[in-house]
Amino acid sequence: MSSTIQDPERYRARVAALQSALDAGDCAAFHRAFEALSEQMDAGLLPELRRLTATAQSALARFSAEARLDKLAGHEVPDARKRLTHVVKLTDEAAHKTMDLVDSCGPIVDEAARGAALLLESWDSFRDRHAAVANLWPERAATFLERTRADSEVLRGNLTQLLMAQGYQDITGQIIRSVISLVDELEQVLGKLVRIAEGGEVTNVMRSLPDQPSWERGLGPQVAGLESPDAVSGQDDIDALLSAMAAGK
């Protein structure tokens, strides 16, 4: 506000009018003169004030948008990718750990089943040859061995199911990987927006982005609520489709 006074002659006239009204003790005239002076001052100030406010506002908006974009592009989006990659790594480790345990349980179960079968076999032949002595071995022992043999089969089946259940890691991994590639794209777009915001060259933001996922490259697993209308409902559906194709040949 240190600039020179605009239109000093008009101010001089207003001040003179104000002075004479004051000298004359004319209250109404004094007020009129005062209003006029005040209006003139406002008229000179307002456009300047408006311009300053607008500049400050846009600078602020630009600054906060740039700061937010910078943070998103520089940290939050790359962090999101690292987090997702970490989830895939954790599930991979957990699945392998589970399968290590399944692998180590397999021979134990097999050995128990084999041992029980062998004992039962010798028990049968021994009982036939030495009926009197055989009665010393409680029936409960034989029942236990029978039970062990049968349980081992159930355990074997459960171990296989436990192994199959680790397939979740592949399914979730594929889904997370498709989200990671989405995050990659987002990062590229944000990077370009930041350069534009910094006054860089305005380029087509969407150009040079990777192609959209195509079914030729693979779309990944179906996700509940986002199923493709063209997706099969399961193995039976596929088998029916394959049979129909074979019949149509």
Partner: protein
């Protein structure tokens, strides 16, 4: 039976391990692994594999391209190829069959389904 030579192709090591364990339970012990089509194809061309089990969605060369490359290779044209994948669009399944897939198993799958499809493929192979 145990002399059947398998190549299992999947980019997830957990899935390769699951398939390998299942094959071993079924009595197949000659199993090689690869993590995408690019690493699988030279192995197929160099080795005498009897069955290829491949995923579809893999970085590098996807399974459908591997299948097409196998069928385009005179030496491998008759190799039984089982697609083992989460890809579920009808047009994909049709494409795989038209490209020469011998079977298509959708993930998640059961041990019974895998055995059933393998038996069918290997019976077809014995008859051929």
């Amino acid at each position: 039976m145990s002399t059947v030579k398998f190549l299992v192709v999947d980019d997830f090591s957990t899935m390769r391990r699951i398939v390998k364990n299942l094959l071993q339970e079924l009595g197949y012990n000659d199993i090689t692994e690869a993590d995408d089509g690019n690493t699988a194809l030279p192995l197929l061309q160099a080795g005498s594999f009897d069955v290829l089990i491949t995923d579809w969605n893999m970085p590098g060369m996807p399974g459908i391209d591997l299948l097409k490359a196998v069928r385009a290779d005179a030496k491998l044209a008759k190799l039984p190829v089982l697609m083992l994948t989460a890809e579920a669009k009808r047009e994909q399944i049709v494409e795989a069959v038209q490209a020469g897939a011998s079977g298509y198993v959708i993930k998640p799958f059961t041990a019974v389904t895998l055995k059933e499809k393998l038996d069918k493929m290997l019976a077809g192979r014995a008859a051929a």
